[in-house]
């Protein structure tokens, strides 16, 4: 089967649209919308060529990212696909590919072009051929283990070198199973059979990657899904030393861009479902509760149930679930509460909107209620007209082109890779409950009506301390996933975060917020560094806060704490930049509201200073508990 991006809609007339785009004054935007179509290998190359003709710098809302690929096979054909897949996510990915097979020298030579390129991401794309060559068929288990361990150790050395040289995020490609059976089905029982060596190689690779915080690009898994013939072709290997076929390049590029985007906090966050003929079969308003097709006993009913089960799994890993349906709200909610086969419960849904309004407006309301961007939403609706309507009016919302048969909805959602992860933290596991608790908090606010009374009634307390090793992953994730309350939108690798934590003069702060409804988790983090020229002035390198705790005076308490710590170190002032992005407008007035005064801004940001000799600790409704210092 040819690897395909079936969740993307087919372009009505790609050829004509591309030529129109090239003549248009907003060419880049036009090309970005063309990137949302299902493009084959040839169309991907054309779009990339069109992009390369642009002389203009990317406008606002596009981010430049530098990715180097260190490969032991030809990967040049992947660059166009990576750039197009980046454009699909409003990332301008600059790709550097070193000379064929020279990655070791390039890594070691500080004068190499690779070093000048200074990649933020390094992708290792290494074939299993060398390892395979080192394992004779008759090798014992111990001999195989040793050869594989040696190969993995060599990779780890490369990872370490790349990390130390560039402070880059490391991505390692898994090994395609390019082998043929030697013993037939018996292959799996022979330690030295090529197929078994590849399996073991991938197992050991995963373990090493987990230990070294390296991200994987799992093309081995993708090739199992599509069939190895779609990904690897002996002809292409012999002719051009391509380990991945040109036909698979668009999907491979998309998978690479997913990992890059995920590391940058651009994965989707919320899955929004239509109800009738999507989460269940039938129309509840017409067919009633009894008439719904759902659950065991009917093939279609089980297919809808399978979709609910998948949604529930995603919820368990931290994806927020929402409903957007044209229905009477009471009737729709009744199905959740009363239908015995419903796997999703009302409490699994963080935003439930059922009415007769335009769905585009309802999606806006859902994003606003959850305090996330519209570009964090995925909208699943069986109705092609609704899908087209949303794509047209809200192009930033991901709308998968669903297969005709509900049986294949789960596969389609999974293929699209909307929720690519770079970590799975305890915060992720609890996120859904936190959003549910937020709904209860909202209800409480409506009861009390008065903000001050409401905040007092929450019985909030803060736990804070410096970055600790156990929280590094979560702190890194918070810096990289937060888009709204993010003062400078500087992104960090886990290694950089560890470096900040270890630097003696740097003040690192992580905050947890507790209230009567539970633990909101790690909700804010801040990095303060003394100015080398004026050590009594501390500069906020970045400060982020989860949107879950907006509007609770938490920023005041966080600043109180920061001020106290900086004073303890003899600091006299705190300086901070606010760098505006399309998403962080909500904190444009943050620093003045905290008592900072404006300095002359550099271009592209505003600059603020807080005089600690005059700062008075603000009173809030948040108590301190368990200061970790």
């Amino acid at each position: 089967m040819r690897p395909m991006m079936s969740w993307l809609p087919v372009a009505p007339d790609f050829r004509a649209e591309l030529r129109t785009a090239l003549e248009s004054p907003d060419c880049l935007e036009r090309l970005a919308s063309l990137a949302q179509y299902r493009l084959d290998h040839l169309e991907t190359l054309q779009l990339d060529r069109a992009m390369s003709r642009l002389t203009l710098k990317p406008g606002p809302g596009f981010t430049i990212v530098r990715l180097a690929i260190l490969a032991s096979s030809t990967v040049d054909h992947l660059s166009p696909a990576i750039r197009v897949a980046g454009l699909r996510r409003r990332l301008m990915i600059e790709v550097h590919i070193g000379p064929y097979g020279q990655y070791r020298q390039d890594l070691l030579d500080p004068a190499s072009i690779l070093h000048q390129f200074a990649p933020q991401f390094v992708l290792f794309s290494i074939t299993a051929r060398n390892t395979l060559a080192g394992v004779p068929l008759a090798a014992t288990t111990a001999e195989v283990d040793e050869t594989i361990a040696r190969s993995i150790d060599e990779l780890r050395l490369l990872w370490r070198q790349a990390r130390e040289s560039f402070n880059a995020a490391i991505i390692q490609q898994t090994f395609l199973n390019i082998t043929e059976p030697v013993f037939g089905s018996y292959d799996r029982l022979v330690p030295g059979s090529p197929a078994r060596v590849i399996t073991q190689l991938n197992d050991q690779l995963s373990k090493a990657a987990a230990q070294d915080s390296v991200l994987l690009l799992d093309i081995a898994r993708a090739s199992e899904r599509d069939g190895i013939d779609g990904w690897f072709d002996t002809g292409s290997w012999l002719h051009g030393k391509l380990e991945v076929t040109p036909e698979a390049a668009p999907l491979c590029g998309d998978m690479i861009a997913r990992v890059v985007a995920a590391q940058r906090g651009l994965s989707k966050k919320c899955l929004v479902f239509d109800l009738d003929n999507t989460l269940w079969g039938g129309v509840i308003g017409d067919d009633g509760l009894e008439g719904l097709v759902l659950g065991e006993g009917s093939a279609a009913g089980e297919a809808h149930l399978a979709l609910q089960r998948y949604a529930k799994q995603l919820k368990e890993r931290g994806v927020i679930l929402a409903i957007c349906s044209k229905n009477d709200s009471a009737i729709a909610e009744a199905a959740f509460n009363e239908h015995p086969e419903m796997l999703l419960k009302r409490s699994d849904i963080s935003a439930f909107v059922a009415n007769w309004n335009d769905k585009a407006e309802n999606l806006k309301a859902i994003a606003a209620r959850l305090n996330i961007g519209l570009d964090s939403l995925v909208f699943v609706d069986d109705n092609p007209a609704e899908r087209a309507r949303i794509r047209q009016s809200l192009p930033m919302v991901a709308v998968p082109e669903l297969p005709r048969d509900i049986a294949h909805y789960v596969r389609c959602l999974a293929d699209a890779g909307y929720f690519e992860a770079v970590a799975f933290t305890s915060e992720d596991r609890q996120r859904a409950d936190q959003y549910a608790a937020n709904a209860e908090r909202e209800a409480l606010f409506e009861l009390s009506g008065n903000l001050d009374d409401f905040l007092r009634s929450l019985q909030m307390s803060v736990v804070f301390g410096k970055f600790t090793p156990v929280d590094l992953a979560r702190v890194t994730q918070l810096f990289n996933k937060t888009n709204q309350f993010n003062t400078t939108t500087k992104r960090y690798t886990a290694e950089e975060i560890a470096d900040f934590a270890a630097a003696r003069q740097t003040v690192t702060l992580q905050f947890r917020l507790l209230d009567k409804f539970g633990d909101n988790g790690l909700v804010s983090a801040m990095i303060l560094r003394p100015d080398p020229k004026q050590p009594e002035v501390f500069e906020i390198d970045n400060w982020v806060m989860s949107c879950r705790v907006f509007g609770r005076q938490f920023e005041f308490e966080a600043m109180n704490i920061a001020v106290e710590l900086v004073r303890q170190r003899g600091g006299k002032a705190i300086r901070a930049d606010y760098i505006p992005t399309p998403k962080n407008g909500v904190i444009a007035e943050l620093y003045p509201s905290l008592g900072f005064f404006s300095l002359n801004g550099k271009t592209g940001c505003t600059c603020w200073i807080l005089d600690l000799t005059k700062y008075v600790i603000r009173s809030t409704h948040i108590s301190r508990s368990g200061d970790a210092r």
Binding site: D40, H77, T245
Partner: protein, 80 residues
Amino acid sequence: MTDQEILSAFTKILRDLLLDDSIVLSMETRRQDVPNWDSFNYINFIVAVEIKFGVKFKVADIESFESVGAIIAETKALLR
């Protein structure tokens, strides 16, 4: 399919691939006659032809095609 039909399909593929509508192919055209038709884009062209016509060329043939006419002849042979 006539030579001419295949030739015009090839021309369209190469124009798309190189995003250059001024390209005109003939049976005698060689790769070096077309600006930017480098070895990378030669492979891309071959893959696009294989997909479009549902054929698969032999590795040895891909290496030895001398001209557009040779590719057309082989495509016709495979379609038969």
